[in-house]
């Protein structure tokens, strides 16, 4: 009977769809469980630079460990580590990192690499801040010209560094909020998009800048100041506080990063022939 045939076809379609879905749902956790892996909370700038895509396969080849990078702002990454939602944290705010190690949230902190920050700005350079090496002088010029400046405003390592520089210049950016000082409240890339869109100055790490594809009319205004030095560090989430932390696998990653092999891998990462990060782990 025609009705019976229709019912059968419908049942087959329904059954097939359900099977496909179940396969998808089941396959997930099964595959998941089989892999050796650690979760590393790092920063968007490190992720966006492409460094991880370069060095993590090398680590996996050597140890078979899958490194799963959750890229957040430094503030959020440190919080993730404190909560125990990651095994290792890899950020660039040495002052905060050391404070948290002292607090007992993290252990086994090591310097890994450094790069530098640069100030980028419009080619036309309305504040006449560009060309020199003195970042504090440049910031003073930007503030007095009330030239638009895009800040990350998100408690990241870059944001902390930026605030320290304004302080060194003796400028209270609260005065400029809403007019020339624009807080994007975003990651580095999003903030650079904003800066490009409104032809503003901004502080960025060189790694992100080199790999950023929407430079528009912006160029490097200030570079080479010692105060623009940006140190990256790696540390293990304290297993005494979070029993589930994969301390052996996490430690393997930390050890590799500071080893000759890891340090070389970092140095080898280049964009258009330019090196982004400079390894400086203690020997």
């Amino acid at each position: 009977m025609a009705i019976a045939r229709g019912a059968n076809a419908g049942a087959i379609i329904r059954g097939a769809t359900l099977a496909l879905v179940m396969l998808g749902v089941v396959q997930g956790p099964v595959v998941w469980a089989q892999q050796k892996s650690i979760t590393v909370a790092s920063t968007t700038s490190t992720e966006n630079s492409g460094l991880f895509k370069h060095i993590l396969p090398l680590f996996k080849n050597k140890t078979g460990i899958d490194v799963r990078v959750v890229a957040q702002g430094t503030g959020q990454a440190l919080d993730t580590g404190k909560r125990g939602d990651a095994d290792v944290v890899f950020v660039h705010d040495k002052a905060k990192e050391l404070a948290l190690v002292k607090d007992g949230a993290f252990v086994n902190r090591h310097d890994v690499m450094y790069n530098d920050f640069v100030v980028v700005g419009p080619k036309a350079d309305p504040a006449k801040a560009g060309g020199g090496r003195d970042v504090v002088a440049a910031l003073k010029k930007i503030a007095s010209a009330k030239a638009p400046f895009a800040s990350r405003g998100d408690k990241s390592g870059t944001h902390s560094a930026e605030l320290r520089l304004w302080k060194a210049a003796g400028i209270d950016v609260a005065d400029g909020k809403g007019s020339w000082y624009r807080e994007a409240g975003s990651g580095m890339g999003a903030t650079l998009n904003t800066a490009a869109g409104m032809n503003a100055y901004a502080l960025t790490d060189r790694g992100t800048w080199l790999s950023f594809k929407n430079k528009a009319d912006l160029t490097i205004s200030v570079e080479g100041d010692n105060r623009l030095f940006n140190q990256y560090g790696v540390m293990l989430v304290n297993p005494a506080r979070h029993a589930h932390v994969k301390k052996e696998l996490g430690q393997l990653f930390i050890d590799w990063l500071v080893s000759a092999a890891g340090q070389q891998a970092i140095a080898d990462y280049k964009i258009n022939g330019e090196q982004l990060f400079f390894p400086n782990a203690a020997r």
Partner: protein, 234 residues
């Protein structure tokens, strides 16, 4: 517009070259959102039907609440689920933060109210039409609810598709609970957010075109099924 043209060619290149990474991202997006929609339907549809045919104190308030929950901001849902699944949170021992399972949970929470609220409306409208006849034939409320679900199946399918569309399009929830981990929890929307933050706008737009194309394809498929079934069942 230059970037539009670049975007279309980026999209075409990715598709034509069967880019493996794209395939993985698309596959995960479908897996997460389809699973979420299935679970949300299994939860939301009976709830909507029960409220549609039931009569109990507080029913009107429940309907208002359900309708309001349709507008849950994805980023808030993501944050709440994150706090629940975090190791420092009540369900931390499950250890499913930053996994596709967490993403499925967040999206299910997001779209279950949509499915419940809209199916409630659809079934209640049908109930008004069928109410007397079904009761005359001797159907109790539970039987009536099931009959109505079957009879309104085409409208319900549209609702399920709407739920899927919402899930596949959102980025706030899956970004927070998934962490956008390369190869593990990166889906179309978070990939677009990432490429945008890298300033690679044509690529981001290209991914966006692929995403829209996918949703269009799914809806076209559903429309064909609906058309065939309509002809058979009227």
């Amino acid at each position: 517009m230059n970037s539009m043209g670049e975007a279309f060619s980026a999209a075409w290149q990715m598709l034509a070259g069967f880019d493996a990474e794209l395939a993985q991202i698309v596959g995960l997006s479908l897996q997460v959102s389809i699973t979420a929609v299935v679970i949300a339907t299994l939860l939301g549809l009976p709830l909507g039907a029960a409220i549609a045919v039931g009569r109990f104190p507080g029913r009107q308030s429940l309907i208002v609440l359900l309708n309001a929950l349709m507008g849950l901001p994805p980023v808030v849902v993501g944050l709440v689920v994150y706090l629940l699944l975090s190791r420092a949170g009540p369900l931390g021992s499950l250890g499913i933060l930053f996994t596709p399972q967490a993403m499925v949970i967040a999206q299910t929470i997001l779209i279950a109210p949509i499915i419940a609220a809209l199916s409630r409306q659809t079934i209640e409208d049908a109930w008004r039409e069928y109410d007397e006849q079904l009761r005359s034939l001797g159907a109790h409320r539970l039987t009536a609810a099931m009959t109505l679900i079957w009879d309104t199946r085409f409208s319900l399918l549209t609702i399920v598709l709407a739920g899927f569309g919402r899930a596949a399009a959102e980025v706030g929830a899956v970004m927070i609970v998934g962490g956008n981990i390369d190869g593990v929890t990166r889906v179309m929307t978070t990939a677009i957010a990432l490429e945008t933050s890298k300033g690679d706008l044509p690529l981001a737009l290209g991914l966006g075109i692929v995403l829209i194309g996918l949703v269009l394809l799914l809806n076209a498929l559903a429309a064909i099924i609906r058309e065939l079934a309509l002809r058979r069942y009227g």
